[in-house]
Amino acid sequence: MINYFKLAYRNLGRHRRRSLLSGLALAMGTALLMFLAAFFQGEMRSAMESTLRLNSGHIQVRDADYDPDKLSVAWDYLIEDPEQVSAQIEALDQVDVATPRLFASGIITAQNDSVGVQIMGIDPASRANDPYRHLVSGEFLMADDREGILIGYPLAQNLALNVGDQINLLVNTSDGTVDEQLFTVRGIYTTGTTAYDKGIVFLPLKKAQAFSGAGNRASMIFVLLKDREQAEFVAEAIPSQNFKVETWRELNSLLVLVNDFSNAYLTVINLIVLGITVTVIVNTMLMSVFERTREIGILSAIGMKGRQIIAMFLAEASLLALGGVTVGSLAGWALSAYFGKVGIYFGDLGLSADMLLEDRIYTYLTLESAINLIVTAFVFTLIASLYPARMASRMEPVEALHSAQ
């Protein structure tokens, strides 16, 4: 057997700088793509986690008539005796926690500024509300607090509010009128997601029910599972005569769409970057085919066949690819690991509550996508090198021998 790799290694060594440069092009392409993949995945993971954790949960149970876009507290739209319903759901094996929530729309007025907000009545004791428990200052709500309110950090900034300050809160009530009351800011929370924090304020469930005239009712039961892949199964198990039961997949169709879209987008970028990179390599190989025309003629004259000549050039390409892709994926992995720890700050991207993003995006590289990329870059390089390799294999030995003389 001819050791094509030995030949390839020596041939690459003839133009060390040129080989290094084209290896480097491949390395940079691979590193860039790996980082991009990690970035997109980090973004999607963050969006998915924030959205599920803060907004949609894994399962939501609502009244069959409820319209989530209206934030109405009309009794027709609400679940009666929500504590009992949520206790029943929580009793299911796969359920981690279930808690009632009441939503109402309102307007906060402090000094001369007014801001529209979404009022969320929560059970302060439930673990499902842990994401709101991260406070910039002050304290979390108590279940029996009748005058306290929890507001987000960006809203506090916006209205120049501190813990202990009073605000006027106006609410749309269940009978279609409004009510208002003074509340004291007990605490200022942050979830790290400005889009969320700037628009949502918390009251204890009991207070929210009384204030909005909802009585012993809630807008939904918010459910978190031990494993979110069980959502469809659990949804089936929840009695649904009067309820509408939706899983996170149904609740986040936009997010799922964005996820698919960003994957498609990434594929296009991959093709473009790999296309450019591979062009550099093909160019280098074409150069070396032309330079070695005579040598190819000699090899052919002493009986080397077309496919052996192809193998010789493919061996060169695969050594280049091996070096370039290895260095590139190490660099890409290192970058992803670094920004996976440190994060990249974007601030409030102003996205809607359908797709919440933390202000800082942490890159996240899955083994699967890393391997995918490595294999693709490698295969791409080899396929592209077939062109110069075949060109070499088709040279007529006579012409090849003539060319250098």
Binding site: M1, I2, L7, R10, N11, G13, R14, R294, E295, I298, L299, S300, A301, I302, G303, M304, K305, G306, R307, Q308, R394, E396, P397, V398, L401, A404, Q405
Partner: protein
């Protein structure tokens, strides 16, 4: 026995509209064991003829039979296969592979012929010693003189024990001493192993070794004579 038989061979090169009749109906038979020189003025068709005998090229018309095998219509790969075991080449410009050592250059045709490691080693060592290059086995071509390179090229041409060795001006880039040395080696091999040699040459030092001299002129054989070479 006939090693090569050409019948009414014509080779026309076409560059754009211009046609060159490099060979114009040549018939020639090379017998086993011959040591033949092709001579003639520049442009008379020597190289062209050699390339046709060596299956590096195909005639515009006429028949080329190598080792009893008709070669017209063979594919590129079939021709490569035929060359591999039957024909060895020595070129004017030494034509070694620059990245390979002397040893590896000689080994290459053996690799292409699928010889085992042990067979290859034995054969390469024998050939290196036959051309007096044993101590230079691990040198790359650029570390060898022209004469040394040509001796390696001769060894490579001989590696697979081909029936026929074709050499195009093998001494043209060598000084007298090296040229003589290379010719001596080839003549010796011709005598000892009966390998057939065909040279294209202008060099009287080569011609004096020949057992037959074929003179070409304008693509035609002008004269074909047996002589008593050294």
């Amino acid at each position: 026995m006939e090693v090569a038989k050409l019948t009414d061979v014509t080779r026309i090169y076409k560059i754009g509209e211009v046609e060159t009749r490099a060979l114009n109906g040549v018939s020639l038979t090379i017998e086993s064991g011959e040591f033949t020189s092709l001579v003639g003025p520049s442009g008379s068709g020597k190289t062209t003829l050699l390339q046709l005998i060596g299956c590096l090229d195909q005639p515009t018309s006429g028949k080329v039979i190598i080792a009893g095998k008709e070669t017209t219509g063979l594919s590129r790969n079939q021709r490569a296969d035929l060359r591999k075991g039957t024909i060895g080449f020595v070129f004017q410009f030494f034509a070694l592979i620059p990245t390979l050592t002397a040893y590896e250059n000689i080994e290459m045709p053996l690799l292409l012929n699928g010889k085992t490691a042990a067979q290859r080693k034995q054969r390469v060592m024998d050939l290196l010693s036959a051309v007096g290059m044993t101590d230079r086995a691990n040198n790359r071509p650029d570390q060898l003189s022209g004469g040394q390179q040509q001796r390696v090229a001769v060894a490579r041409a001989l590696a697979t024990d081909p029936k026929l060795i074709l050499a195009d001006e093998p001494t043209a880039n060598l000084d007298t001493e090296n040229g003589e040395q290379v010719m001596e080696i080839m003549k010796k091999l011709n005598k000892e192993t009966g390998t057939t040699f065909v040279f294209a040459t202008h060099d009287p030092r080569v011609i004096k070794y020949a057992s037959r001299v074929v003179t070409l002129h304008d693509g035609l054989i002008e004269k074909d004579s047996k002589v008593n070479g050294k």
